[in-house]
Symmetry: C2
Subunit: 316 residues, 2 copies
């Protein structure tokens, strides 16, 4: 993004987004040169990247400010999932729209995100393409000793989720139905899709409590499955303990909520309870890590079979 019109667009709408947080995040030079320059106090950093694509991750005609906010949240969610604190974001936008108002609204969504999570933008790229695609890079800080990976679960650890599942999927259905007058509950669902909460405070505090953690992007069963697979263990979860709305088959296998799923050893549960009440989060203990492989979903001690496991881009 270096030429006249593009340059003016960037200068006008994208230049100082979140720059009020440059100092606190160690950004010495933001967008405008070949690269952004930043400094670190700790030696260890984490980085993740996520693409949100039109018609895959959001409806094609979703308002640009919502596309921007949600794309940032989805990507940023990986940082607390590793026990990290957010440092900066980078934004690569491919858009079919030449409309300046579209770009302005997209920038508005970015601005809202940077303010909500007090995180600056280090740089980006803006390219014209056939469909809208937003690739967000996120950098965070966490020391290697405190990095919350997927492979640390132990037999007997309790399994938790940070909030109710299935809401974003219900919200998406409402958005695509174009329904106008929404109930309070429907508004809540829509908000969950458009602005999934990034659990920044929970994530960074979990690093001294949890043994493993993941953000639920592709559905509880798939993502808890990754913890199990990487930890070489299995899981048993109780449907009656899982907070969800809508149909359980969807709520457990569809992502989009970006709640955290994490495992906690017995001797850390009281510490977790204190943390949850401090953060005003409900306690959702949904099951336990067990020996073996795979995830068993039970209700009244009977195993339940689900139709699909989780979202898959390349399934035919």
């Amino acid at each position: 993004m270096k030429e006249s019109d593009e340059f003016l667009v960037l200068q006008k709408y994208f230049k100082n987004l979140g720059s009020q947080f440059n100092d606190s995040s160690g950004i010495l030079l933001g967008p405008g040169d070949d690269a952004g320059l930043f400094t670190v106090k700790k030696n260890d950093l984490i980085f993740s990247t996520d693409v949100s694509n039109s018609d895959v991750h959001f409806p094609k005609d979703l308002a640009p400010e919502h596309i921007a906010f949600r794309s940032c949240a989805v990507a940023a969610s990986d940082i607390p999932a590793c026990g990290g604190t957010l440092k900066w974001l980078s934004i690569s936008l491919v858009t079919p729209s030449k409309n300046l108002d579209w770009l302005k609204q997209f920038a508005k969504g970015l601005n809202l995100f940077t303010k909500s999570y007090q995180v600056p933008i280090i740089g980006g790229d803006l390219v014209k393409g056939k469909e809208c695609s937003v690739s967000i890079g996120v950098c965070g800080e966490v020391s290697r000793k405190e990095f919350l990976s997927r492979d640390g679960a132990k037999v007997g650890d309790s399994i938790y989720v940070s909030g109710s599942l299935g809401l974003a999927k219900l919200g998406l259905k409402i958005i695509t139905s174009k329904k106008k007058k929404l109930t309070v509950k429907e508004k809540k669902y829509v908000k969950k899709f458009l602005q999934p909460k990034v659990h920044t405070l929970l994530g960074k505090n979990l690093r001294s409590i949890a043994t493993s953690c993941i953000d639920i992007s592709d559905g509880l069963l798939g993502d808890l499955g990754h913890i199990c697979q990487r930890s070489n263990l299995g899981a048993k979860i109780d449907l009656d303990l899982i907070p969800y709305e809508g149909i359980y088959n969807e709520a457990l296998t569809w992502g989009d909520d970006y709640e955290l799923c994490f495992t906690v050893p017995k001797n850390k549960e009281s510490k977790l309870n204190k943390l949850l009440s401090k953060l005003k989060l409900k306690k959702f203990k949904i099951g336990e890590i067990v020996k073996g492989k795979g995830i068993k979903v039970v209700q009244d001690n009977k195993e339940i079979k689900l139709n699909r496991k989780s979202y898959n881009h390349f399934a035919s």
Copy 2:
């Protein structure tokens, strides 16, 4: 990228690309968790991101390994342009192809790039979309005192380019013509488009020599224009001194070559000469930074007007 088929694709083709350079680059944990973990020895880092899109930056039917290599080179080029050394890359791929062989070939191109520049991949994302779009994040190291920005040019500084311009554009024309039997020269042009050189050695050594630097991604006039604009000065360049092939109007206004353009004060020119001969690079002094605004292109002391300034995604 967390689910079964995608997961298997990543495991199989993308997992260990460039991981032999993890230690030297400080990557403690590569792809496979919510985020990659890395450590730094110096306090200051740089980051840049670039998107390469089908039909904009490369022909739609370009072989996937070439798409991969070129996308990496284009993005990585920003690091030496700031005087930095490459640390790692992240790869976000949107692709319409479900074909495993396509993905395998794409991974082959990434692998070739990581080996050519001894740089690891910290992570990525893989998403299905209507058109191919590759967003590459690049991280590099350079101290804040040595960061080569665009705004340091001074009156009287000589302007240099690192190599001949226009070749990649000629290469692209040959590629799109589908011509089969190529001359040695034509092969050179095609290679310049497919594998533009990332000036890693030149860039990091320029930080003690140059006053400003930029990589020519959108054309010499546009990119030197950024140096001028940011330095609040003008430039006078001589067409007879500019190394180019093809039509000068294209060679000076079309990017794709990713040569560096940099400014050097008179008292550093002997040091530059030594560096260029050590790196076996030709010396291309093309003009001088002057007072005023804008770039004057002259030949036989007469000013030349060019038809277009540089590439613009959003020009109608």
